[in-house]
Symmetry: D2
Subunit: 163 residues, 4 copies
């Protein structure tokens, strides 16, 4: 099935708008992968995974990695990552019951903030069906004020740096 | 409770990163409003509405307006809006059981694409707690190819244009 | 549109199974009401609110009432309600963008447990489109062991008793 | 961590209520299994998978099996399964990032209705953490009237019968 944007600029030319034209990432842009099983209710009335659901994949990918690396553990850690920005480019439709893989990378590390990148791949696909960015500011769990990234967290994040 | 970014640039200075520094919109940036009731499960383990949930508010706001104006009706319309991009800036935390209002505007109209803007306000608040952009390309429901926006849809969208 | 179970026993006769045949509740079976706005993604691929979503309405109704009455406040209360059982009978389809009302009652109060009843009504409808039961056992937030219902909670619950 | 109902009747005795006391199923009660990955937002503010989320696992398990067996395919099949009843007993807490398995069985087959059973197991666990029932009535996709189960569907369902 032909999808808008499949290997052509038709969409943008027709649209008469200047899009920033992102290109789907290949798998090697990502440093760690996580399996994601889709759910019946991920599909909306159009029979494809709803645009909002991708952000729950992003969140799961970032938070899951931090938790499994014992770097940020909800209800126990002294710091919390607050979302300040997120975005997603959608290239190809996915649908339940597709099996997915989410690729994770770190795009930028600041003093108290981190920009994560997540790519959503159909299992085994070489190109992302969607990819996004997700910026966290880390704050003290009590005062809610930004804190410098703890050393151990910073080192973990550096291992995921991909540009 | 002091929140990061509350009336200061501390966050960005501390972060040592150049953020695009969006400012929360006021209500007059939006052309139509929709009440949204929050749900217990909108809150994540940190006790605030999860970042991904805002996109379900966006989707509900855009799709709800189109449906109620009889402009795009799932399972009946000849065109479908496919999400090609979405993004959100988060300024202030919200939490169940807050009552919310979502403001809707149209930021750009192309030949076959539309960029919507949605602002999420705590009921009665003058400034958005979060605001986002959401780009649809309209395609033929059968061929899945981009189509020029039908006249009636274009006219409806123009009534929501706010820059 | 004719729906299964609309004013007849056809469903059960055809099915050749003995259903417990619940009857839709009228509004006066419920003691408190809460407005619920539906969301685009509440609809599944069949264009109706998905069966699982009703339980998020139930949870929102029970937890919202307890929170707004200052009886059980997550992250602050010394007790937590753990779900031990839930059930729902579905009578009529609902769909986004329907506006809904959820009726709340208390069906049984034990020493440490409470059975809530929730009815989901299309706004203004006299009969429930779906109705369910939801049993909580209240436990100490630290030890996770059942506790006798605190007096103030018990009194609040008694005000919602309807059989 | 001691959980209510763990190997004792304390809960029910303390509660002073007659519960139907279901026992957690073992894996051999189920005929087919499906891997389910949990998501960050499956956890509610208490840090455990929210009671409503289990129903999205049930729905995914039943609909996924029917789809993958090519028995009921949304937007293509001539019949649709409408939920008429669902229920769940919860025994043990689960939490993101637990990996889960959902067991599927068919408990009863009527003329036009089917009662499915679903058990949710922590990966590798011998006993269900939660188990539920889910009754579908199959209706004609156009007329919305109950239909006798097609032969091929009936045969598929019979292969999952477990009591």
């Amino acid at each position: 099935m032909k999808k808008p944007g499949d290997g052509s600029n038709d969409r943008d030319i027709e649209a008469g708008m200047t899009f920033e034209k992102p290109r789907p990432h290949s798998r090697d842009r990502y440093a760690a992968f996580r399996a994601i099983t889709t759910r019946f209710l991920d599909n909306d009335v159009y029979g494809h995974i709803n645009n909002a659901v991708y952000y729950s994949y992003f969140d799961t990918t970032v938070s899951g990695w931090l938790l499994e690396q014992d770097l940020v553990v909800p209800q126990r850690s002294e710091i919390i990552g607050l979302a300040v920005n997120s975005s997603c480019d959608y290239f190809d439709s996915l649908a339940f019951p597709d099996a997915l893989e989410a690729g994770l990378r770190v795009a930028r590390i600041g003093n108290s903030s981190v920009q994560y990148g997540v790519g959503i791949f159909k299992q085994g696909a070489s190109q992302a069906a969607a990819q996004g960015l997700f910026t966290h500011v880390y704050v003290d769990a009590r005062s809610n004020r930004p804190v410098a990234l703890p050393d151990r967290l910073r080192q973990g994040l550096q291992s995921l740096l991909r540009f």
